[in-house]
């Protein structure tokens, strides 16, 4: 699993990356009440705002960690947005992206680097 500085995680299976927000991000947001997932078929660039997560208080953008085409959005989040809090790095995933260039993940932080990054915040 790799992480961005904006607290998205990404996990690669073949050429499909599953993307979500980190436990740190989910805890910081508090109770998630709404998730707007991206449309399947949409092409995204790394760093594009491609989803929105809303707590009781505010809406926050979620950025695509890698470029590619959205091939699946997590339908569970429409009816059970609280899944993001319950299992942010598992069942609470946001979308799956067919990546254009898998090597782009190498530029992202691994677990140790992300843990270290969190201590600097």
């Amino acid at each position: 699993m790799r992480y961005t500085k904006e607290h998205e995680w990404v996990r690669l299976d073949g050429d499909v990356a599953t993307v979500g927000i980190s436990k740190h991000a989910a805890d910081a947001l508090g109770d998630v009440v709404f998730v707007e997932t991206p449309e399947v078929g949409k092409t995204v660039k790394a760093g594009d705002s491609f989803a929105v997560v809303e707590s009781v208080k505010a809406a926050s953008d979620v950025y695509a960690p890698v470029a590619g085409e959205v091939v699946e959005a997590n339908a569970v989040l429409a009816s059970a947005p609280e899944t993001v809090n319950a299992d942010p790095q598992g069942d609470g995933w946001f979308a799956r992206i067919k990546v254009a260039d898998a090597s782009a993940l190498d530029a992202l932080m691994d677990q140790a680097a992300y843990d270290q990054y969190l201590t600097t915040l």
């Binding site: 508090g30 109770d31 709404f34 929105v52 809303e54 009781v56 208080k57 809406a59």
Partner: protein, 370 residues
């Protein structure tokens, strides 16, 4: 960190000990949540929630002419207000715009006890002081303010002082409570029954911890305070009302006392009386957003044809109703209950409907007529 410039309430250490998440609010380091906004919201609606609202401004206005002097700033009739009662009112500028909303009451026989919003308090008190005439004197009170709100609040407080059970909504008194000199009113800003208790700053932590010993009571942060007041249809000053909005536009005309309207002797009376006669360009309404994301402050409101007719001033999910609600301003012709509108969230028009407020029925304690 900029936190060093933030002011703190006398309960700051108590919040930290409870594991609160602290955020800057109106210049203060305040607890936004302890356990979580949704859980705290629901606990308050079902049991009793304890809030630190010590950031709000408290003052006494005293002097033989205090009540008449106070009326020069507000549209309420405080002359006829009985001792032991308080009343919601509005600080108005000369254009009839709302400078702040406030509570003022007669808890003792020594003028008025006034509570104003945190973000406005310095400006409010300076404005009042600058306009006072004669021997009336404003004294800022450096006290803490607690609110206990929820259906079990009355039982909790009756265990400490039985007389509090006999208070009706908006009754107030100065009395000894927890061995301290307190101003207490049966009021609040959540739509629930409950009390606001002004306590000496050096007694605040002891009293806060004592009330929390009751298993029916949990500490509640500003996050849930906001979602509770939104459900109760209560405006948040600086968002749902500001210096440009009048009491009529803000749907707060109930704060205009009949006698004061007849006398037309409050700031901005010209404009406000014209608006009451129907010359109104916008009015605050409640909205049920029927699909999609919550509509937040700043979202545009459009009519059924897509023409923008107003803006959301606060909104979000209603934990009690399980749907998205909002308040905003629209032209009066779109303010009828049931009017079909849309709100535009991230470029998408979402179906919305004008609904009555409060969104969640209030449960203020009205004393049976004796």
């Amino acid at each position: 960190m900029s936190d060093q410039t933030l002011k703190t309430t006398p309960l700051n250490a108590a919040h930290r000990a409870l594991g609160a998440r602290m955020v800057p609010f109106a210049g203060y380091d305040m607890p936004v949540q302890y356990e979580g906004v949704l859980a705290e919201h629901r606990w308050t609606r079902e049991h009793a929630g304890l809030f630190d609202v010590s950031h709000m401004g408290q003052a006494k206005l005293t002097g033989a002419d205090a009540v008449a002097q106070f009326e020069r700033f507000v549209p309420g009739d405080y002359g006829i207000l009985k001792a032991g009662r308080q009343k919601y009112s509005l600080l108005l500028n000369d254009q009839g715009g709302i400078m702040d909303d406030l509570m003022a009451g007669k808890p003792d026989h020594d003028g008025l006890f006034i509570v104003v919003n945190a973000a406005c308090k310095d400006a409010d008190f300076a404005h009042i002081e600058a306009g006072l005439q004669g021997d009336a004197k404003l004294t800022r009170l450096d006290r803490a303010l607690l609110a206990i709100q929820g259906p079990e609040a009355a039982e909790v407080m009756a265990a400490y002082e039985p007389v509090l059970a006999d208070f009706g909504f908006m009754d107030c008194a100065r009395l000894m409570l927890f061995g301290a000199d307190c101003f207490v009113s049966r009021s609040g800003y959540t739509g629930e029954d409950g009390y606001e208790i002004s306590v000496p700053a050096d007694q605040a932590e002891r009293i806060w911890n004592t009330i929390l010993e009751d298993a029916r009571v949990k500490p509640i942060g500003l996050g849930a305070r906001d979602s509770l007041r939104l459900e109760a249809g209560l405006p948040l000053y600086g968002h749902d009302a500001d210096e440009t909005t009048s009491p009529v536009e803000a749907a707060l005309a109930f704060a205009l006392s009949k006698s004061r309207k007849e006398r037309a002797d409050f700031p901005g009376a010209d404009r406000i009386l014209k608006e009451l006669d129907g010359s109104l360009s916008r009015v605050r309404v409640g909205l049920h957003v029927k699909e999609g994301a919550p509509a937040r402050e700043g979202a545009e409101i459009a009519d059924a044809d897509g023409k923008v007719i107003g803006k959301v001033t606060s909104g979000g999910p209603s934990p009690s109703l399980g749907k998205n609600i909002a308040m905003g301003y629209v032209s009066p012709q779109f303010s009828e209950i049931g009017t079909v509108l849309t709100v535009i969230v991230r470029g998408k028009p979402l179906a919305a409907e004008v609904v009555a407020t409060p969104f969640v029925a209030n449960r203020y304690y009205r004393k049976p007529k004796s």
